[in-house]
């Protein structure tokens, strides 16, 4: 596990028995087949509301990830920042629309033996705490400039 200055980088790897193309496809288009929406979704934050209908990954360089609630409403989770099938994917992750900053998830797909090694990195948590007291204004002049070109949205 390597770490950046702050140490707030999460790195996970898995090896799957499929080609990078297939692994990339299941991770993105097939997100509803593996994402635990019954515990990790906006609707499920309210225990009584339970799991949403589904989670949808709109593929492509300007794609996004969102949940469709049982009410039919949509709740945004993430925007695609980098779309390089079948080797690399970067998402701007922001479940809470009021959050100061999004976090970022990068996933790499590398052939390994007969299968594919999937390396996932979730980073940017330090930004969630930073400047919380000074408020949104001072914050917006700092770190999130990096993401200025990217449209804000939701997701977890």
């Amino acid at each position: 596990m390597s770490t950046q200055e702050t140490g707030l980088v999460i790195q996970k790897s898995a090896v799957v028995a499929a080609s990078p193309e297939k692994a990339f496809e299941v991770f993105t288009e097939g997100i509803a087949t593996w994402w635990p929406i019954e515990t990790h979704s906006i609707q499920a934050m309210d225990k009584e509301a339970g799991a949403p209908e589904t989670v949808i990954f709109e593929t492509g360089p300007s794609g996004r990830v969102y949940e469709r609630m049982t009410s039919g409403e949509e709740a945004h989770w993430a925007n695609v920042l980098v779309w390089e099938p079948p080797t690399r994917l970067v998402l701007e992750w922001k479940v809470n629309p009021d959050a100061i900053a999004p976090t970022e998830i990068e996933v790499r797909f590398t052939p390994e033996g007969e299968g594919t090694r999937v390396d996932l990195e979730h980073r940017g948590f330090e930004a969630l705490g930073k400047d919380a007291e000074e408020g949104h204004q001072s914050y917006s002049q700092g770190w999130p400039k990096v993401f200025q070109d990217f449209i804000e949205t939701v997701g977890k």
């Binding site: 707030l8 996970k12 499929a18 087949t33 309210d46 009021d98 948590f125 007291e133």
Partner: protein, 98 residues
């Protein structure tokens, strides 16, 4: 100790991402009582995720910028589970095609 394992605490944590708030303000946005919010805040504080300061009679809570270790632990655990589920989904997909 799983401070962010509870949906209400996760919601409180997320509300605090948009800036410091008093207990009453948080309670106003949640379907739980004020004492319950205070109890959840105590857990978050013990986990080092939030800090508190007094302003007159009010207690203002904010995220602790130095204490995001628990958040990291939470996501670490989450991605372990999610990737296991992903591996299983890839396997199922492979079987379908055969």
């Amino acid at each position: 100790m799983d401070a962010l394992g509870d949906p209400t605490r996760r919601r409180i944590f997320e509300l605090l991402q948009s800036g410091p708030r008093a207990v009453g303000e948080l309670a106003g946005e949640l379907p739980v009582s004020r004492p319950a919010v205070s109890q959840h805040l105590r857990v978050l504080k013990e986990a080092g995720l939030v800090t508190e300061r007094r302003e007159g009679t009010r207690r203002i809570y904010r995220l602790d910028p130095d204490g995001l270790g628990e958040l990291r632990a939470y996501f670490d655990k989450f991605w372990t589970t999610a990737l296991e589920s992903f591996e299983a989904a890839v396997e199922r997909k492979g079987e379908e095609k055969q």
